[in-house]
C-alpha cells in the first residue's frame, strides 16, 4: 500500500526521521468444544495431558479427522473480515522439531488457505481511521506447552493445547506506528468476540501476535524486517514495536545493516533479543498432508453462515450514530464490546439516545472502571438505569439528584421510582415552595442583592443557596427564572 507518509507518525532518529512499517500475524484460538483434528476437549486449565487423544499425542497410525465447526468458525471470521472465502483449501505439513510438537510437524495451510484477502477498518484517536489489508487467514494446529521452570535440568511437556485449532490472521504491512498496531489488534479482537469465533483472552494465550517490524527513510523501499514472536498483550505489542524500531534505527544510523531474524520481547528489561541462530534458519519443508484431502465446501455453506452472522461493530456503530444521534466517538466506545452495546440499546430503547449514552458511558462505565468490573458484573441493570433516565426526563428528579439515586441503586438495588418516592428525592417544581426559599435568601442577604444588580454573575451564588435550602430538589430552571425576576437581572 502506498499511503501518504504522515509526518506525525515518523520517529526522530539522531540523523533523520524514520518511518516504521509493521505487519502482524495474529494467532487466534478458535472457539470450539473439541480440537481441530481430534475429539479431545479444548477447555483451559485441565490436569496435564488430560485433554489429549492418541491423535494429539501423534501415536503411530492415528489419523486426523477435521472438526466441521472449526471450518465454520474460520469461514465466519473470513466473512467478518470482508474477505474472500476459498471453497477449496489444502492442509500442509510444516516440519520442525520441538518437544511439545509430537508429530514433528504442524498441520497448517500454506499455499491454499481457507480465507484470502480482506480488510479491517481501524479507528484511531482524534477521529482518523485507516484500512488495514488482510492477506490471508488459515487454519492450523496449536502446539503443546513446555514448562522450563520446574526443574534445573528438564522441561515438562503438557499436550493439552496440542491440536487445538488456531486461525492465523496475516495482515499486510499497512501499519505505521505502535499506536496503529495496538488499535488494529484491539479492533480485530472486537470483531472476533462479536463473531464468537475466538474469545480474545490474551492472558490465557488465546490471542497472540507475531509482529514484523522494519524501518525506512520516508519514500524508500521497505527495510529488512525482524519478527518479534509471541507478544501476548496489547500494551506489550506497542512497547515491543517502539523498542525494536529504535534498535533498528540505531544500527542503521551507525552505518550497520539489519539481519532478518526472529526476536523475543522482554518486557521486564524493555529490550528485544535474538531468538534463533542463523544456522537454524527456517526450513519448514512444507508439503501437502497426505492424511487429509483438500477441504471443499460449496457457496451455499458460506451463504448459510453469512446469514447467521451477528451485526458487526462497524455496522452497529453506524446505526448508533444514525438512529440515536450519537457522536462517532461515543458510538465507538459503546460498540467496543458486544455486551456494552446490548446494554446501551436496552437503556436507549424508546428513550433519548444521547442522554442514555451519557449515563451509560459517564456514570455506569466510569463506575465500573473504578471498581475494576466488566459490564457483565454491573449491579445496575439496563432497566434500572432506564428508569433513572425516565425520572430525569419527566422532571421528577434533577440531574444532580439522579447521581445520588444512581449511587443508591448501585449499592442497595431497588426500583429507582420507588426509591425516589420512599426517600423524598422528588424535584420541587411547586413554584410556591421555591419562591418561599428564594424570598428567605433575598431577605437574609440584602448586601448581595444590591451587588447583584451591578454584577449579574452573582446569580450563581443565589442559585446555589436556593438549591442548598431545598436539599438539591428544586427544579434548577424554575429557580433561575424566579431569581432573575426577583433580582431584576436580565
Amino acid at each position: 500500500m502506498t499511503a501518504p507518509v504522515n509526518p506525525k507518525k515518523l520517529i526522530k532518529g539522531g540523523l533523520h526521521d524514520w518511518e516504521v512499517v509493521i505487519g502482524m500475524e495474529i494467532h487466534a484460538q478458535v472457539t470450539s468444544r473439541s480440537k481441530l483434528f481430534s475429539g479431545a476437549a479444548t477447555a483451559f486449565g485441565a490436569e496435564p495431558n488430560a485433554h489429549v487423544s492418541l491423535v494429539d499425542a501423534a501415536m503411530p497410525g492415528m489419523l486426523p479427522v477435521i472438526n466441521e465447526e472449526c471450518v465454520a468458525q474460520a469461514v465466519r471470521t473470513g466473512l467478518g473480515l470482508k474477505a474472500r472465502i476459498n471453497l477449496r483449501s489444502v492442509f500442509d505439513r510444516k516440519n520442525y522439531f520441538y518437544p511439545d510438537l509430537p508429530q514433528g510437524y504442524q498441520i497448517s495451510q500454506y499455499k491454499d488457505p481457507i480465507v484470502g484477502e480482506g480488510e479491517v477498518l481501524v479507528d484511531l484517536p482524534e477521529g482518523e481511521s485507516i484500512t488495514v489489508g488482510i492477506e490471508r487467514l488459515h487454519l492450523e494446529q496449536d502446539a503443546g506447552k513446555s514448562l522450563h521452570d520446574q526443574s534445573p535440568t528438564q522441561s515438562f511437556v503438557d499436550l493439552n493445547r496440542s491440536g487445538v485449532a488456531l486461525m492465523e490472521i496475516v495482515s499486510r504491512p499497512d501499519l505505521r506506528s505502535s499506536e496503529e498496531a495496538r488499535a488494529y489488534v484491539t479492533k480485530l479482537r472486537t470483531i472476533l468476540r462479536y463473531l464468537g469465533t475466538c474469545d480474545g483472552d490474551m492472558e490465557k494465550g488465546n490471542l497472540r501476535a507475531d509482529v514484523n517490524v522494519s524501518v525506512r527513510r520516508p519514500g524508500e523501499p521497505l527495510g529488512t524486517r525482524c519478527e518479534i514472536k509471541n507478544v501476548n498483550s496489547i500494551r506489550f505489542i506497542g512497547q515491543a514495536i517502539e523498542t525494536e524500531a529504535r534498535r533498528q534505527i540505531a544500527i542503521l544510523e551507525d552505518g550497520g545493516r539489519i539481519g532478518q531474524e526472529t526476536r523475543l520481547f522482554d518486557p521486564g528489561k524493555g529490550e528485544t533479543r535474538s531468538m534463533r541462530s542463523k544456522e537454524e534458519a527456517h526450513d519448514y519443508r512444507y508439503f501437502p498432508d497426505p492424511d487429509l484431502l483438500p477441504l471443499e465446501f460449496d457457496q451455499a455453506f458460506v451463504d448459510g453462515l453469512a446469514a447467521g452472522l451477528p451485526e458487526l461493530p462497524d455496522a452497529k456503530k453506524a446505526r448508533f450514530v444514525s438512529d440515536f444521534g450519537l457522536s462517532p466517538y461515543d458510538a465507538g466506545v459503546l460498540v467496543a464490546e458486544r455486551a456494552s452495546a446490548d446494554y446501551y440499546e436496552a437503556v436507549a430503547k424508546g428513550r433519548d439516545g444521547k442522554l442514555a449514552a451519557n449515563w451509560v458511558i459517564n456514570e455506569l462505565f466510569g463506575r465500573l472502571n473504578k471498581e475494576g468490573k466488566g459490564i457483565e458484573e454491573t449491579p445496575v441493570s439496563a432497566a434500572q438505569l432506564g428508569a433513572i433516565v425516565d425520572l430525569i426526563v419527566e422532571g421528577t428528579i434533577s440531574g444532580k439528584i439522579a447521581k445520588d439515586l444512581f449511587e443508591i441503586v448501585w449499592s442497595e438495588g431497588g426500583d429507582p421510582r420507588a426509591v425516589v418516592e420512599e426517600r423524598g428525592m422528588k424535584q420541587v417544581t411547586d413554584t410556591g415552595a421555591i419562591e418561599a426559599a428564594v424570598d428567605a435568601i433575598i431577605a437574609g442577604n440584602p448586601d448581595k442583592v444590591a451587588q447583584a444588580k451591578e454584577k449579574p454573575t452573582l446569580l450563581g451564588w443565589f442559585v446555589g443557596q436556593t438549591m442548598k435550602a431545598t436539599g438539591g430538589k428544586a427544579n434548577p430552571a424554575a429557580v433561575n427564572a424566579l431569581l432573575k425576576a426577583k433580582l431584576g437581572i436580565e
Binding site: 473439541s34 479431545a40 479427522v65 477435521i66 522441561s155 515438562f156 519443508r285 484431502l293 483438500p294 471443499e296
Partner: protein, 95 residues
C-alpha cells in the same frame, strides 16, 4: 536435480538423524538415484491435467464438534522414558 554432500548433511540435521561422515557419500548416491528415478515423471506432458488428490472421488471426512476422547493421561505418557505428575519430562530446552 541432484544433492551434494552438504545438502545431505543439512537434510539429516533437519530430520534430527545422526549421520556420520562415512555415511554421507553413500547416502548422497542413494538420494540421487531416488531423485533420478522420480524425475522420469518429468517426461510426461501433464498440461491441463488437474492434480489428483485421491483415487476415488470423495469428500474429506468431517467430525461433529463433540468431546469424544481424553482423560487418559496415564496412557498418553505410558511410553515416555520419564514422567512426573502426568507431564512428559525431556532434557531442558530453552529458547
Amino acid at each position: 536435480m541432484s544433492v551434494d554432500a552438504q545438502t545431505v548433511r543439512r537434510i539429516a540435521h533437519l530430520a534430527r538423524i545422526a549421520v556420520s561422515e562415512e555415511e554421507v557419500a553413500p547416502l548422497q548416491g542413494e538420494l540421487n538415484a531416488i531423485l533420478a528415478f522420480v524425475e522420469q515423471l518429468g517426461a510426461v506432458d501433464v498440461t491441463g491435467v488437474e492434480p489428483m488428490t485421491s483415487v476415488t472421488p470423495m469428500r474429506m471426512k468431517r467430525r461433529e464438534d463433540a468431546i469424544t476422547e481424553g482423560d487418559r493421561a496415564a496412557d498418553i505418557v505410558a511410553n515416555a522414558p520419564e514422567t512426573e505428575d502426568g507431564y512428559f519430562l525431556v532434557p531442558k530446552v530453552v529458547e
